[in-house]
């Protein structure tokens, strides 16, 4: 902190970039997870529950075992098990997956609050960041480019999922199960097991997204930690039309938009902050309208999704 002056308006693009790096990761993981689940023909609205449960378990495991990476793994596994519940319940005939998801959302957050009480006060080891900005003399740049490895893992996962759905037999199976149940049965695909596994995979991703909240940014476990990132991420999947790459893009956009409000006030644009803070939601509405097509309605929607029936 020597004679570094303020960056003035240059701080805005930097804040947006930093905002993406700091806040997009939970959106990326949860939306990719929901992508997998919805591609198999089910909606899991309970991922906010996985996110909060994952955040709590990651912090607890990191504290108990002294390693944040064990925390990330624990969050993923707990998310996986928790979503298995959704997968199995929804496999019972005539169970509504939307309602089951909402009840699991409430159960998950409740469980996390209940089991997380003893972990609010202790300090758990946090995930180390990669200092990509060490070349710069500006502390602002260095801080913005302090990147968590989970961010890169999330980007890699998006590309991997893209390849998985487009190029692999398993991916084709998941898509077929999600598009037409009868067709999948005719081809001899195991419909129910595929859906359960896809839901579990989605839960695993959402749990890891939660671990980022408690082990990186904003860091540490508290009951108010999530401000609905899990719910927003599920909406982002519809916004991204069930494509992992577009889900990645939507998450990045959302992260950047979320940074606008605080960044503008930091620069000195002090009015309209309620409006700027609502930027991510306004942006979502605008992109939804712009990207909608009257001629080609819902071409990307998995045919078995309840919202399409």
């Amino acid at each position: 902190m020597t004679s570094v002056d303020t960056l003035g308006w240059l701080a805005l693009p930097l804040a947006l970039l930093g905002g993406v790096i700091r806040t997009a990761t939970p959106f990326i993981f949860v939306s990719l997870g929901e992508c997998i689940t919805e591609r198999s023909g089910r909606i899991n609205l309970g991922l906010e529950g996985n996110l909060v449960l994952g955040a709590m378990c990651a912090y607890a495991a990191s504290y108990l075992f002294g390693s944040p990476w064990i925390g990330v793994l624990a969050a993923g596994l707990v998310g996986l098990l928790f979503s298995a519940l959704h997968g199995v319940i929804c496999s019972v005939r005539r169970v509504n997956d939307t309602a089951a998801g909402i009840s699991l959302l409430i159960l998950g957050t409740g469980l996390a609050f209940f089991a997380g009480k003893p972990f609010i006060e202790p300090q758990a080891p946090q995930l180390p960041n990669i200092p990509l900005g060490s070349w710069s003399t500006l502390p602002q740049v260095r801080a913005a480019l302090d990147v968590n490895p989970l961010f890169f893992l999330g980007i890699a996962a998006a590309f991997a999922l893209h390849v998985f759905f487009k190029r692999t037999g398993l991916g084709l199976m998941v898509r077929t199960v999600g598009d037409t149940e009868d067709g999948a049965r005719a081809l001899g695909f195991p419909v129910i097991p595929t859906r359960i596994l896809a839901t579990m995979a989605g839960g695993f991703m959402a749990g890891i997204g939660g671990s980022f909240l408690s082990l990186s940014y904003p860091g540490s476990w508290s009951e108010g930690l999530s401000s609905g990132q899990g719910i927003m991420a599920v909406a982002l999947v519809i916004f991204a039309r069930w494509s992992p790459l577009r889900a990645l893009g939507a998450s990045i956009l959302f992260g950047a938009a979320g940074a606008i409000g605080p960044a503008l006030q930091g620069i000195g644009v002090t009015g309209y902050y309620y409006l700027f803070n609502a930027a991510p939601y306004l942006l979502t509405l605008v992109v939804l309208i712009v990207s909608s097509s009257p001629t080609r309605p819902s071409a990307d929607v998995p045919g078995e999704l309840k919202l399409n029936r």
Binding site: D5, T6, R22, G219, S222, L225, G258, G268, Y273
Partner: protein, 369 residues
């Protein structure tokens, strides 16, 4: 061994107790009367913030002889609050209900208080008006006096002469606090500026962290906070290697390197007031307020980074505030748009109701209320 109390003994005892009350020893006896106190929180008791400040006072009450405390966390400011209060009264026999969140007051506390006239209701932050149930009391603290003391430390410790404040919503209480913080820092060095970011929500950890980051990027080297749970802001400041001032309860352990101090509530003082009056069946204080002198608010632990000179300045200012030599809101005072808001010669003491509707940020603060 078996000395049973028969009816005659009981009557004698009751008579003695009655006489004792008449003789004025009632207070001592009443202080031992078993009583159940029910406390409602809107959030988690362990939030390193507002709710924890109340939970600390509840823990202190619990240690008093004859006092049983029952608590309920995360009670929404809806009809659920009424159910929770009724449950405490009917099932646990609570005779004193302490409702700690602002939104409980109207209509929930008022409604239940009218229904249970022999139970005392103490509400934090509400304003009692004639016509409201007589068994309702309200209490609050002049926290801006403690924020002023934080501002003195911040003013002494800042090197960049830029202070940052992460605030939730521009309510009068927050605005008084931000202004007091800024006035104190600028009394140390008039070249200091204070930048405020409003997050628009009482709790939003990610946005709070983003706001702190943004202030630090703009060169602020002390970050103060006016949010429900200052944990995230204090931790973010610590991670970025800048100093921080806390709020509500102590966050000192979260930032061993950069924590200066915090403006803390000392709710046990009003709690005990309501408790004693309820036990002694004395009339309540309907509008109970206090600041530094009444010990309703205090300065938290002072961080290791604070220099002896800054610490001495803090003690000096505290003494002046308590004696009334220093009045925080005294004219001439300009807001940050250049208007004179308090003319020269006018002073608004801590308890001046003229400060209730405050809606301006003072000169030197960047931000918009």
């Amino acid at each position: 061994m078996t000395h049973r109390i028969d009816r005659r003994d009981l009557l004698a005892l009751l008579g003695a107790a009655g006489t004792a009350t008449w003789l004025g020893a009632g207070r001592a006896l009443a202080a031992e009367t078993p009583i159940t106190v029910g406390i409602l929180y809107s959030g988690s008791k362990q939030d390193y913030g507002y709710n924890q400040s109340h939970a600390n006072a509840a823990a202190a009450l619990r240690k008093l002889p004859g006092v049983k405390v029952i608590e309920e966390e995360r009670v929404p400011e809806t009809i659920a609050a009424q159910r929770s209060m009724e449950g405490m009264i009917n099932q646990d026999g609570a005779k004193l209900i302490i409702a700690t969140s602002f939104g409980y007051f109207d209509p929930h506390v008022l409604k239940i208080a009218a229904k249970y006239p022999d139970v005392t209701f103490a509400h934090c932050g509400g304003i009692w008006k004639p016509g409201m149930p007589e068994n309702v009391g309200t209490f609050y603290g002049y926290i801006f006096s403690a924020q002023y003391l934080s501002g003195i430390l911040a003013g002494h410790m800042s090197k960049s002469k830029k202070l940052g404040v992460v605030a939730a919503k521009p309510t009068p209480n927050l605005i008084r606090s931000i202004n007091a913080f800024a006035l104190a820092a600028r009394s140390v060095d008039p070249g200091i500026t204070v930048q405020v970011i409003f997050t628009g929500e009482w709790t939003n950890p990610v946005r709070e962290a983003e706001s702190a980051t943004s202030l630090i990027d703009q060169g602020a080297d002390v970050i103060a906070c006016h949010v429900d749970s200052p944990k995230v802001v204090v931790e973010t400041a610590e991670k970025r290697g800048v100093m921080s001032c806390g709020y509500h309860s102590s966050q000192a352990e979260l930032a061993p390197k950069g924590y200066l101090t915090g403006a803390e509530w000392n709710w046990v003082v009003p709690y005990t007031d309501f408790l004693d009056r309820t036990r002694a069946r004395q009339p309540l204080e309907h509008y109970l307020r206090g600041g530094l002198a009444a010990d309703f608010v205090k300065t938290g632990p002072i961080g290791a980074v604070v220099t002896p000179a800054a610490r001495a300045a803090l003690e000096q200012t505290r003494a002046k505030l308590i004696s009334g030599e220093t009045v925080i809101f005294s004219g001439p005072l300009k807001d940050n748009k250049g208007n004179v808001v308090i003319p020269a010669g006018t002073v608004h003491k801590e308890n001046d109701r003229a400060l209730d509707p405050i809606n301006y940020l003072v000169d030197g603060v960047t931000g918009q209320a």
